[in-house]
């Protein structure tokens, strides 16, 4: 055993600031420090850079026709992708938890592929398969529907990259759900549909909404796959993140940061909504 000599506590400086600092716990200090260098400083830089323009100029760039159209394409497509994945993700999670079938584990693992696959690769694969002559795209060509290189392509890419969120937020909730509550509902005379609507669904709504919101914000920020699958033509299928990159290519750094700052503000609002939903969801949860 090593004998550790006793060290008297250091003299504490009596001024207010060091008194305050000495009360801050180590985990708290690390958390704040980490968030500062990873998140706060870069975000502040973005806001500061775009605010050097003054409000009038900022507003002009932020609300230019091209930018407005890009926000619209981005957010409207992302909302639809989020909603569709809300429905399909719920169904997928349900089947993965409640059904037993050969290959279930493989399907379960496949759900995470959009997380792991480089987005450019995803875009390339989707653009090939959904192109007018591709494996899937060819079936839509006779009806005059073009998927790749259109806003529909943007939609498909967003569906792909936001697929795991609802499934992964819902799965643990479904797994913990007691089957007995369904039996209790039947015993009280409820039909299968009433049981689903009144007993199963209500506790699932908060996690579904959280998953939809997470998937939606992921879709809003997506760049890599969409730049490949879309034709990136303004007023047609140009999304805001691609617009930012186009501005950078034109050495218009200020223009890029302005659009970036708008995206940042909208994302912040969304994340606050997600937090609210999570809080709402845990309101009646058992501790």
């Amino acid at each position: 055993m090593v004998n550790i000599p006793y060290e008297p506590p250091m003299e504490v400086n009596t001024n207010q600031i060091s008194k305050f600092i000495s009360k801050i716990s180590i985990p708290w200090t690390i958390t704040i420090g980490y968030l500062t260098i990873i998140l706060l400083v870069p975000m502040a830089a973005l806001i500061l850079k775009s605010s050097t323009l003054g409000f009038g100029k900022f507003w002009e760039i932020a609300t230019s026709d091209v930018a407005i159209s890009a926000y619209q394409v981005t957010f409207i497509t992302a909302i639809f992708a989020g909603l569709i994945n809300g429905l399909m993700g719920t169904l997928l999670a349900w089947v993965l938890v409640r059904y037993d079938f050969p290959g279930r584990k493989i399907f379960d693992a496949m759900i995470d592929i959009p997380f792991a696959l480089p987005t450019a690769v995803a875009g390339l694969v989707l653009a090939t398969v959904y192109s007018p002559t591709g494996w899937i795209g060819q079936f839509f060509t006779p009806f005059g529907i073009k998927i790749a290189f259109s806003q529909l392509g943007v939609f498909v890419a967003m569906l792909f990259i936001s697929l795991p969120f609802v499934v992964r937020t819902l799965q643990p909730v479904l797994q913990e759900m007691e089957r007995e509550t369904e039996e209790a509902s039947w015993a009280l005379g409820a039909t299968d549909w009433q049981t689903f609507r009144l007993v199963i669904l209500p506790p699932l709504i908060p996690p579904i909404l959280t998953g939809v919101a997470l998937g939606f914000s992921r879709a809003v920020g997506e760049y890599g796959s969409i730049v490949v699958i879309a034709s990136n033509i303004p007023f047609q299928d140009l999304i805001a993140p691609v617009l930012v990159f186009q501005r950078l290519e034109e050495y218009d750094y200020v223009g890029a940061t302005v659009i970036g700052a708008v995206l940042l503000l909208i994302s912040l609002v969304l994340l606050l909504v997600i937090n609210f939903l999570q809080k709402w969801g845990s309101n009646y949860a058992e501790n």
């Binding site: 007691e178 509550t181 209790a184 039947w186 409820a190 039909t191 007993v199 209500p202």
Partner: protein
């Protein structure tokens, strides 16, 4: 409302959970299905409820053959071990659930829920959520929810199994009083013999998917029908029938059984007794437990305090023991 289980069998794969069960539950009685885990008692309850379908046989509730009838149409109340309350609904809404499904009027729902909240003594807690209640309170809510729709029969699956010992004792006394007021034909599953003895009018002892005995608590204890029942209900000394004790009795089978309180301790040999040595004396409060050795066999005797004081038993003292009653069973399990 009576329940008749008529020659019901049920298998899960190669495991036969119920073997040819025949059981009649008289109207307005409270019956316990008692047995160790895996004895089929829960499966029997779920089959009566309609949560499981029997492979053969019939379930007749109140004179109607309900075999194959969906649980939704049986009008039964079911209470689960882990309450199975709807966590997203308040206590009032949990109790009102079945009434809402039946499209009762708002006024009637309000009146009935208030009445039931009074019955379960949770008047002030109607607007809380299940997570804000204790286990005992939750189980009372589950009971109120089941009773709200005025079911013909009430089925309870280990209703006190998830509660701690003290709450469990309170709740079962409460259930007994409730049944005396409400008089609904009820069947409850338990593995706790004390619980069955205290609460039930009639006990059905089950083992390995079969009914071992049906009877009142006193009948089951005093006249057990099989070695399983005597071993499962209450304490008993088990000796091989070739043991050189009590040889003047006629025994059957391979084992003989003596209840600890039916084993008399004497200080002098009266010609009919066996010599024993006191190995251990345990004070159980109002009762004394003496552990005795006869040759290589060990027996337990229960004495009253009064008797213990009179005998002044000591460790390693030599005494004489004499059973007042010995039980043995023929191979075909007929008690003698």
């Amino acid at each position: 409302m009576s329940i008749i289980v008529d020659n019901v069998s049920k298998s899960f794969g190669s495991f036969q959970a119920l073997k040819d069960i025949h059981l009649e539950v008289k109207p307005n009685t409270l019956v316990a299905l008692l047995g160790p885990s895996g004895s089929g008692k829960s499966t029997l309850l779920r089959t009566i409820a309609g949560l499981e379908n029997p492979d053969q046989g019939r379930i007749v509730i109140n004179g109607k053959d309900t075999t194959g009838v969906d649980i939704r149409k049986r009008n039964i109340g079911f209470v689960f071990q882990h309450y199975a309350l709807f966590k997203h609904l308040t206590i009032r809404e949990n109790i009102a659930f079945g009434l809402r499904i039946r499209k009762s009027s708002e006024a009637h729902i309000k009146e009935r829920v208030t009445e039931l909240l009074n019955l379960i003594q949770l008047e002030g807690l109607g607007n809380r959520y299940p997570s804000q209640l204790s286990g005992g309170q939750r189980q009372r809510v589950a009971l109120a929810r089941a009773l709200a729709v005025q079911p013909e029969v009430l089925l309870l699956d280990e209703p006190f199994g998830a509660l701690d010992a003290k709450v469990r004792k309170e709740l079962r006394a409460w259930l007994r009083r409730l049944h005396d007021d409400v008089h609904i034909t009820s069947v409850f599953v338990t593995h706790d013999q004390e619980e069955a003895m205290e609460v039930a009018d009639e006990i059905v002892v089950m083992s390995n998917g079969k009914i071992e005995q049906i009877g009142s608590p006193a009948e089951i204890y005093d006249n057990p029908a099989s070695p399983f029942v005597i071993k499962f209900i209450g304490e008993v000394n088990i000796l091989p029938s070739h043991a050189p004790l009590f040889t003047n009795n006629n025994h059957f089978g391979e084992e003989i059984f003596v209840r600890p309180h039916e084993l008399d301790i004497l200080l002098e040999d009266d010609g009919n007794s066996s010599r024993a040595v006191v190995k251990r004396i345990i004070h159980l409060g109002w009762e004394i437990q003496a552990e005795l050795a006869v040759d290589s066999w060990e027996l337990t005797a229960h004495l009253t305090r009064e008797k213990f004081d009179r005998l002044q038993l000591r460790h390693n003292q030599t005494v004489y023991i004499k059973p007042s009653r010995v039980k043995s069973f023929r191979e075909d399990s007929v008690a003698v």
